[in-house]
């Protein structure tokens, strides 16, 4: 009953939401699973495990990436931001979270964390998108509930909120 050498747990150190976390997991542990099951950050959701749906999108060094397409072991040395890192307090939403709530940009909420991270990173680079650009910005994430109409609106509203916040 010995574990194959290939599956031996490795000590890992991940920097998640500004906090250094350690865990022990085999090399094959997907970053999505490590975040969810080893670190208990269940806000990151897994919808397809082949990189298409975008529900598991986290920020790696500030850029959106599919956490189901990365191994935790490879994520060491990078700064990971999950939806909890964007905004963890239901009473103090980030502009993107606030905009999604105001615009009814979510229904079941399963894909939502991936949209929150994606839109947050997008607005960091493109603070003033047009409606077409807003649509393009979210076109790598699947949502089965909303038909995207109100998510597009939320991108524009979030940009507005961020500008207000800065002013």
């Amino acid at each position: 009953m010995s574990a194959p050498a290939a599956d031996a747990p490795l000590p890992m150190t991940l920097q998640v939401n500004g906090v250094v976390r350690t865990l022990s997991a085999p090399a094959r542990r997907l970053l999505s699973d490590a975040l969810r099951h080893d670190l208990g950050l269940t806000g990151t959701h897994v919808g397809c495990e082949h990189g298409v749906c975008g529900a598991c999108t986290v920020l790696v060094d500030g850029e959106p990436a599919r956490s189901c397409l990365m191994f935790a072991v490879s994520a060491q040395g990078h700064a990971i931001t999950t939806v909890e890192g964007v905004g963890d307090d239901p009473a103090a939403l980030s502009p993107v979270q606030q905009a999604l709530a105001e615009c009814h940009g979510l229904q079941c909420g399963f894909c939502t964390p991936g949209f929150v991270t994606t839109i947050t990173a997008y607005l960091d680079e493109h603070p003033d998108p047009t409606e077409d650009e807003a649509r393009e910005a979210i076109s790598g994430n699947l949502c089965r509930c909303t038909g995207y109409q109100n998510i597009v609106k939320a991108v524009l509203r979030a940009a507005e909120l961020r500008r207000e916040e800065r002013a």
Binding site: G43, D89, P90, L93, Q97, L100, L106, T112, R135, R144
Partner: protein, 801 residues
């Protein structure tokens, strides 16, 4: 003060939690639970000759390996036929783990329980199942020929054959001055929620009870089914539905094999066990829908009025029929839409194929029916050279004809009797919204730029809010907090918000004080489930009735305390006051205290209800004979029939003259779901439905090869639309309240998706000038259609109209 919230686009209560990663979906629960994985059949049709567990056991972390042979008692018996029907003469269901034979790729054969999913999958890889393959029946053409059989004892592969007729179709058809026949086809798609199914079972060895968490659309149904399967008293089983990442129909089926096996294994092992369906499993072992072949013959007069409608269709029900024939019954009845068909006959054959089973997916047979009817309407218009809206107008049921009985039996066994709707007004709104009358001009202008555009339309009626019932429980705590429970489950419809709006208004309390629980059998053990656009209609009215009961009780107690008549009292903002006598009032929370006579004071407010607290009538018992302690109550809403929502959509599409790429330039919706509790949420439902409809019209299909392999079982190849594929949706609403329920509601959940394939087909047909009879349609298929029509010599088929 209290403002009415019903009718307002109140922001959702659930959002802050879901937006910050604090949702609790199935896989977020049960950290540390053992995980299950399954060896599933790679063959569509085969006999199992041997199962060799091999050295799977030797893997570190493997806790159990089960085959059918290991299953006891009812766990080993076939899964239930949930919705029997007299016409379903040959119902067949599978086993939790395949016994002897597999009938579709993906059927579970061996269950592995291990430390985590990684190890469980390793173990699955070490298990060898030997099969003797059998010829597969794939596709309706092969199935209805009946030469190869899915189940040896089901002749012709026919699970059910049902015929309904209103009037004398043969006579009416023979007398009709014009007749047309259309052959139509719709391919398979699937609900495809972003969260797959999942089950987490906690077996309590100490008291022999089970708590089951499932990503289900029915917690009470699942509870009863699992208790029966595991031979447990109902009192020892509770089902809790956590946050659910979308359902759209597929999660109404119960019990799924895993929903029986996981709690059974938890009991066997005395450990928490969890199974979280992965995407590949979802494609091959959850349900699909839509696939039908249809033959429509229509007789009509020279004005385009229907005289006779004769419909035959073949419905692919996949390998098993656990959910009965609900989908084809809905197609057969809801096909009629807002129209009077003249004499109507519909007959369907629900047939087996060696593919994943078919159960309702949002729309549930209606998109197919709408497609048949609307293609027919367009064909009639084309035949007579009439405007397509005019033909529809002439066949509409008129508002003064409501209620209108179509003379058929609906999916709930009750009459197909429309309660409300104003179809001419809805159509006028749509015509105005899309600019129907100006389209010819737009088309001409586009044409000068070398662009090809088309305008399409589709109308539907949707029976929503079917029974049998839902319940509501409302309880006012001494803090003023109002707890509301209903048994049906939530998958994103915003029930926490909508039901709180209803109760806040009915009870006269601030919206913020109302807290809603859904889908938890501990809180409401009597419920049916979330399907058929019934959440708001059924539970909305149930909690309204329950709240009215609690309000009456509160007024009675307050009247006693204030020594006035209950008729003189009002509740606003959680304060009961005497009308016309400001200052004479009592808080609802105080009434809650008074409603429950106490011996023990656990806090300051409770002191007021204790036995030495003050004045009471020593001749009356603390709780009257006809009363109960507590400011709470429950009630049920059980309608005599469904309520019928309706809608009309129009779209403008552009087709590339060379590449046949299809772009939706505009998409317009007019929708009537009666009173809207929360218009923002209703609109969101419509948006989502349209997007799924667009998927079904232009992108999504299940592609099987001849051997029954699903060729596109991934999100890379099953093309659910991204934002880039969904057009901007323009909406307008007509509110004709339902007379059937206290709140005047009609369902809204499925509406958006129903007519989309019909609308897009209509628009492409209009752009291209040849009929579109099969959906979905891809650019490559449209291009192929063009080739076929170009090679024909019939000049009538050429050019856009």
């Amino acid at each position: 003060m209290t403002t009415r919230t019903v009718g307002e686009g109140v922001q959702r209560r659930e959002d802050p939690r879901l937006l910050t990663g604090h949702g609790r979906y199935l896989d977020d629960l049960g950290r540390g639970a053992l995980q299950a994985a399954f060896v599933r059949s790679p063959h569509a049709h085969a006999r199992i000759t041997d199962i060799d567990i091999g050295d799977a056991w030797e893997l570190d972390g493997v806790e159990a390996v089960y085959t059918w042979e290991d299953l006891p008692g009812r766990v080993a018996e076939p899964l239930p036929v949930l919705i029997p029907h007299p016409a379903l003469t040959h119902a067949r269901t599978g086993y939790c783990l395949a016994k002897d034979e597999v009938n579709h790729v993906g059927e579970a054969v061996v269950m592995v329980v291990a430390r985590d999913r990684y190890v469980a999958e390793d173990a699955c890889g070490r298990i060898t199942v030997r099969y003797e393959t059998l010829p597969a029946v794939v596709g309706l053409d092969l199935a209805r020929r009946g030469e190869r059989l899915v189940h040896d004892d089901v002749p012709g592969n026919v699970a059910a054959n049902l015929r309904q007729e209103v009037g004398d179709v043969d006579a009416a058809m023979a007398a009709a001055p014009n007749t047309l026949t259309l052959d139509l086809a719709i391919e398979r798609s699937a609900s495809m929620p972003l969260e797959g199914k999942g089950v987490h079972a906690r077996w309590d060895t100490d008291d022999g009870s089970l708590r089951l968490y499932s990503s289900t659309q029915t917690s009470t149904g699942l509870r009863a089914a699992v208790a029966a399967k595991l031979d447990l008293p109902l009192a020892k089983v509770e089902v809790v539905t956590p946050d659910v990442g979308g359902g759209f129909g597929v999660k109404i089926v119960h019990p799924w094999p895993e929903e029986v096996l996981v709690p059974w294994a938890a009991r066997m092992l005395g450990r928490d066990v969890k199974w979280v369906e992965d995407r590949r499993e979802h494609f091959v072992s959850s349900a699909h829908e839509r696939g039908q072949l249809q033959e429509v013959t229509v007789g009509f007069d020279d004005d385009g009025r229907l005289l006779a409608l004769d419909v035959r269709f073949w419905h692919d029900n996949g390998a098993y029929t656990p959910y009965g024939i609900i989908v084809p019954i809905i197609t057969a009845t809801q096909l009629l839409g807002p129209y009077k068909p003249g004499a109507y006959r519909v007959e369907f054959w629900s047939v087996y194929t060696n593919t994943v089973l078919v159960t309702p997916y949002r729309g549930a047979g209606r998109p197919q029916g709408c497609f048949a009817m609307e293609r027919t309407m367009d064909a009639v218009a084309a035949h007579l050279g009439l405007d397509r809206t005019e033909v529809r107008r002439r066949n509409f049921i008129q508002p003064d004809e409501m209620p209108y009985d179509q003379g058929l039996m609906f999916q709930d066994g009750r009459p197909l009797r429309y309660d409300s709707g104003d179809f001419p007004s809805s159509l006028q709104k749509l015509v105005d919204l899309v600019g129907w009358d100006d389209f010819a001009e737009y088309r001409a202008a586009a044409s000068t730029e070398g662009r090809t555009v088309g305008l399409g339309i589709g109308c539907y009626v949707e029976g929503t809010g079917v029974g049998p019932y839902e319940g509501g429980h409302v309880q006012v705590e001494t803090s003023g907090r109002v707890n509301v429970a209903t048994g049906l489950t939530t998958q994103g419809q915003g029930h926490e918000t909508v039901l709180a709006q209803v109760v806040a208004d009915e009870l006269g309390v601030p919206f913020e004080d109302v807290h809603v629980t859904t889908g938890d059998t501990r809180r409401m053990p009597y419920a049916v489930g979330t399907f058929a656009s019934r959440g708001a209609v059924m539970s909305g009215n149930a909690v309204a009735l329950a709240a009215r009961g609690v309000r009456a009780k509160a007024l009675r107690i307050a009247a006693d305390a204030l020594e006035v008549s209950p008729d003189d009292l009002d509740i606003e903002g959680g304060v009961i006051s005497v009308r016309g006598a400001p200052g004479t009032s009592i808080d609802l929370r105080t009434v809650a205290v008074l409603s429950n006579p106490l011996r023990y004071a656990f806090d300051v407010s409770a002191q007021a209800a204790t036995q030495f607290a003050g004045t009471f009538d020593p001749d009356r018992p603390p709780v009257a004979d006809d009363d109960e302690p507590g400011l709470e109550g429950q009630d049920f809403y059980s309608p005599t029939q469904a309520t019928f929502a309706n809608g009309m959509h129009a779209a403008i599409v552009e087709t590339d003259p060379v590449t046949a790429e299809i772009r939706i330039l505009r998409y317009c919706v007019v929708h009537d779901c009666g009173v809207m509790v929360n218009p923002m949420i209703v609109e969101g439902q419509v948006h989502g439905g349209v997007a799924q409809g667009v998927g079904g019209a232009l992108y999504e299909r299940m592609v099987y090869d001849e051997s029954g392999q699903l060729l596109n079982a991934s999100f890379m190849d099953f093309l659910m639309p991204y934002a880039s594929e969904v057009p901007h949706v323009e909406t307008d609403h007509l509110e004709t309240p339902s007379p059937l329920n206290p709140l005047g509601l009609k369902g809204a959940g499925e509406a958006g998706c129903i007519p989309v394939s019909a609308v897009i087909a209509s628009a492409i047909e209009d752009a291209e000038g040849f009929p579109v009879r099969s959906m979905p349609i891809s650019p490559a298929e449209l291009w192929e259609l063009r080739r076929q029509h170009a090679s024909r010599t019939d000049p009538a088929q050429e050019g856009a109209s």
